[in-house]
Symmetry: C2
Subunit: 337 residues, 2 copies
């Protein structure tokens, strides 16, 4: 049977299991809507490190180590770590994995990295190249602000369309067997760029990519929105979510009844300055590894389509007048009938 | 039969073929030792673009398009593009692929990206997730200098251990069948950090990772150095190559008779300021896609071990006093008996 369905989707026949997850978040995320679902909530953004970048490294390595522990495994059993983050040269991931004795593949898909790494991890498992692999990613508010925008001390006012980069890391261990949620389909995104140039409105820039991938997933698999208990995009925020829902409707599918955006939901609306919602690779990572995974384990959600969304801009590309290309990768995760 | 051999190596049973390659280089590379093997040699580093970054984007998209054309294919036939580069947020790759209607996976392994993308591409082919995939990468001297070091106008003096980032891009199309060189083994690297902090001596920082991966490849496969006609590391340069050769000897393998480093060889020694040799993701990419591939096609080399090498530092990590983690991924490429 051909594993490839249509233009962008592959069937993951062996159904690799997500045998454990770990989520580590900062204090702000730890006071948000999903506070009861995170495994580790930090007391401060520094996590006793001398810089935000080192803190992010530490948060990611904690999530990876914790996911291994929760799977009752040891490092030597892990075939590959697939990880990425937002810092230049993927330094959070490289430094987090540096002390680990595991083959490492670095991935960059901006905030789409959680499903990018989970997609590759699932295909590598299905290809029988390893018994266990890890998919992980992280982001850090303060490290992102100073790299992409301004140092916090600058005290810039935030646009209403801007989003708050999640401080957090999520890691999943995939294994071959066991009674756990499993991956059934992977729909890999194409880059979409509709000319949005406002880097304070990344939800709008990413929405066309999200909508295209969601549509393609339904088209390739023959499924309809009602097949899923939950369709969750990564970090489109309030405005990007609205656009995505409309665009998907134009494609002929109504997702309104079971659609949430991790970015829009992660913070409580009373939390200062979060405006359009959360963002960053860590956003869909911790919401999946925390809230969604735990509600799959207790069978509240049996069928989930997770679509992390990334804005592939750089500060240089924006300064050179380029628009913001978006990408979104979808992974279908199911548990039971 | 288990595809996994030992700790880091997998057998690629289906032997995906490298059915075409394309190499695009700048004028300096076009005057170097491999000038007769490159497909496109640019007249200037700008390639008629308004910035070095846009030039790199254009060089990479040219290499990808050219590789598709040389394979007698069209974009719609390509299942995935796996690509990465050195620019922040992988912007050369994202913008190069933006106009292409192909599912995209961004990878970052610093200068190890050519074998990183080729490794993943080979496993995805072997897993039967696509009929054709592309592995590609690029780098650009002037874009790298100003991002990682100083603007060229600053006119800084270059250390003797420093290397000259290659302006160039290489792309390979992998297919299932045909009389072409094929991938047989992939050895994925672990991160090695021996504490080198001098970012003007990256060859020394990467050497331990290169040596560890080469050793692991021989150990996992049971092969010895003499099995290969050519063992080629990515961009260790003069000093990194010397260290690697010695370290591999300490591991019990003598590679001296058939070992070259793409970085050490790409420039003619008379070329100004290239000092320890070439570097950048583009280095092993264009040397493989040009010189090595063409000499595989004419059967001068029948068995090649390609080991691209990456230094996983960022300017931030160096400023924060971190040492330079290295990584190296090996791919065994063979043709005929």
């Amino acid at each position: 049977m051909n594993k490839r369905l249509g233009d962008q989707t592959v069937r993951i026949e062996s159904k690799p299991r997500i045998i454990s997850t770990a989520s580590v978040v900062g204090p702000k995320e730890g006071k948000g809507n999903f506070k009861d679902y995170f495994d580790v909530i930090l007391k401060n953004d520094h996590k006793e490190n001398e810089s935000f970048e080192k803190a992010e490294t530490n948060i990611l390595s904690t999530a990876i180590s914790e996911s291994i522990k929760r799977a009752n495994l040891t490092e030597e059993k892990i075939g590959y770590i697939f990880a990425g983050d937002l810092l230049n040269q993927l330094s959070a991931s490289s430094f987090a994995v540096r002390g680990m004795n595991v083959p490492f593949i670095g991935l960059y898909g901006a905030c789409s990295t959680m499903t990018e790494s989970l997609s590759i991890a699932s295909m590598i498992m299905d290809g029988e190249f390893a018994n266990y692999v890890i998919a992980a990613t992280s982001s850090h508010f303060a490290a992102s602000e100073r790299q992409f925008r301004f140092p916090l001390e600058f005290g810039t006012q935030r646009a209403l369309t801007s989003q708050w980069t999640v401080t957090g890391a999520g890691a999943m261990v995939l294994g071959k067997t066991g009674n756990f949620p499993y991956v059934t389909y992977v729909t890999t995104g194409k880059i979409k760029d509709y000319g949005v140039t406002d880097s304070n409105d990344m939800g709008s820039a990413m929405a066309p990519a999200a909508a295209a991938t969601i549509y393609q997933h339904f088209k390739d698999t023959g499924r309809s929105p009602s097949y899923y208990d939950l369709i969750a995009t990564g970090d489109l925020g309030k405005y990007g979510k609205e656009i995505t829902e409309k665009l998907v409707k134009k494609y002929g599918y109504d997702i309104s009844s079971n659609y949430m955006d991790c970015g829009q939901e992660i913070f409580d609306k009373s939390q200062d300055d979060t405006n359009a919602g959360g963002s960053g690779c860590g956003c869909s990572a911790v919401v999946y590894c925390g809230y969604i995974y735990k509600n799959m384990m207790n069978k509240k959600f049996k069928k989930v389509l997770l679509i992390s969304t990334g804005a592939l801009l750089s500060t240089t590309s924006s300064l050179q007048g380029e628009s913001i290309p978006g990408i979104a990768h979808a992974v279908s995760i199911e548990y039971g009938d």
